[in-house]
């Protein structure tokens, strides 16, 4: 190398921290998000190991002890109107609620990614067609879908998941599409194309990793919305079929006996509200994590 090549060996902020490492660092800086994440992990563990933890069969009635208060006869949180153990039902209800919300959101995310990427990346006719289709679907309210699905598929967990997913994926698909259209004009995408990268590489390696921020934020805000939708369906009588427990059906049932035994509504509602808040705050944390200006 000739001397006229200047070199530049000076180090500026010498740290080899990857983009994901820095995202995690920024997430951690949001204490509320970190505590919320820990809380969600605890909830998830409780839900996964519900069988092991639950002292009673959640669906086994015991008419000898109906509507008892907490700490009676080994029933940690008392019993409901059929004498079933509220604590055990809470664990299983949590499992149902989390399963429905997470599965519905993941399903929605998957659909949104496929449709959003196709529409946003390829554009043109395909874009017009897909967006017209989503516009039509926008016109149907979520609850109408739920009623239709419940009628066609019967009152099952899957029909609820499907109803919620259908209500939620449209907005996300638009978000993914907008991200694709925005990032497509970035210089690194042009650089990738000029190096001969094909559509697959560009989408999976260039566009998606860098558009995840807003998408993940929307998904984590979508989970509490899905929980809310599930309990809304339960209030309408379209929730999971009895005797299965979900937080939504527990609140709906408990509210009938609120004057006799407020515990029945207090516990599922507390778990439900804290869970929703936790997912929202984790969403805030993800937003911080993907916001590079605060470094």
């Amino acid at each position: 190398m000739t001397a006229q090549h200047s070199t530049d060996s000076g180090a500026v902020g010498f740290d080899g921290v990857s983009e994901w490492g820095r995202r995690w660092r920024r997430f951690q800086r949001n204490r509320l998000a970190l505590v919320s994440l820990a809380f969600i992990v605890v909830l998830a563990l409780l839900a996964v190991f519900a069988e092991v933890i639950a002292p009673f069969d959640p669906n086994q009635p015991d008419f000898g002890k109906r509507l008892t208060g907490p700490f009676t006869d080994g029933n940690l949180l008392g019993t409901d109107v059929l004498g079933r153990d509220v604590f055990s039902r809470l664990l299983f209800g949590l499992r149902t609620a989390l399963f429905i919300a997470l599965t519905a959101e993941l399903l929605a995310l998957l659909c949104a990614l496929i449709v959003g990427v196709l529409a946003g990346y390829f554009g043109g006719r395909l874009d017009q067609l897909l967006m017209a289709a989503t516009d039509v679907m926008y016109a149907f309210p979520t609850y109408l879908f739920a009623v239709i699905l419940a009628t066609v598929l019967g009152r099952s967990t899957w029909s609820i998941i499907l109803a919620i997913a259908i209500g939620s994926w449209l907005t996300q698909a638009r978000l993914v599409r907008a991200q694709m259209i925005k990032l497509k004009t970035f210089e690194y995408v042009e650089a990738g194309r000029s190096m001969g990268a094909g559509a697959g590489t560009l989408i999976l390696r260039y566009l998606l990793p860098n558009s995840l921020g807003p998408i993940l934020v929307a998904t984590s805000f979508g989970i509490p919305a899905a929980m809310l939708a599930e309990s809304g369906l339960a209030i309408l009588g379209l929730g999971v079929a009895p005797p299965e427990a979900s937080l939504g059906t527990m609140i709906t049932e408990g509210y009938k006996y609120v004057l006799v035994q407020p515990n029945l509504i207090l516990w599922p509602f507390t778990v439900f509200a804290l869970g929703m808040l936790a997912f929202t705050w984790v969403g805030d944390g993800i937003r911080d994590a993907f916001d590079p200006k605060d470094d």
């Binding site: 006229q4 530049d8 060996s9 000076g10 500026v12």
Partner: protein
Amino acid sequence: MVRNDQPLLDVRGLSVAFRTRGHEQLSAVQELSVSIDPGGSLALVGESGSGKSVSMRALLGLLPANAVVGGSARWSGEGDVPGGTELIGLAPRAFRAIRGRQIGMVFQNAMQALNPTIPLKRQLTEHLRWHGSCTRAEAEVRAVRALGDVGIPDPERRIRMYPFQLSGGMRQRAMIAMAMVADPRLLIADEPTTAVDVTVQKQILDLLIDLRDRGTAIIMVTHDLGVARYLCEDVAVLYSGQVMESARLVDAVEDPRHPYTRGLIGSALELGDDSPLRPIGGNPPDLADRPAGCAFQPRCTAADGERCAEVQPLVRLADAREVRCWRSSHE
């Protein structure tokens, strides 16, 4: 030019530091001393991170709350205040009477500085009516005149337009008109031509020269020595928050005394000049990690380990120049 006994703005030992999360204070400007006479023109030249914009914002009280500002800046543009007004630590209320009215400002990005939802007329006259006691009709007359003065053709019609209806060059002019409508004694221009094309840049600078010739003092913040040379008489070269050299611009260009000034001139490309490029190696230091002693030492080709490891004072030379390098006082 007649030298008054007192400069229009006299900045002594200005320092700016930012409190940061976790770290200690980051020092952005250290011991900055510059002054400008009525009708004078001063260029603050430096690269990004040199503290040139931060120092001007500090003078105008425009820094965020985590900034710690020290030193003194005496403003003598009011006339009736003996010894001038101290700008550092001035109450926000008192600042509003000076900022915009006595000291005008022009920024880099006109589109962000102009409110896109309000027609020019209101932006120009609202401004006036806050500052001066003048009626709506008077304000409009002055606003139209200001637009005409900055070379906007057909100002009576254009004053009713929204910023987005103007071309980039026009917007930049409108912003200068906004700064000039209150007839300030000093105009601070922070890279006003960085975002515009070269032909528009020339027009904007010519406009500023007109203003200067009519008696407005101008401080030009720029990274481009060519721009500075075109407009200004004096220059202060900033590096890593410190003045490295201050001189008359002609002298600094013809006979640079500080190695950094020499490096900047060697880096500047000129038409019709085929001498080999002499770039400065390396990068400016991180503010959190300044080298001990002379801040420029790691990139300096004339560095001498021992002498340069000491803190370099700004030394006043015989010809009224100031240089922060021990070599210059030995030459």
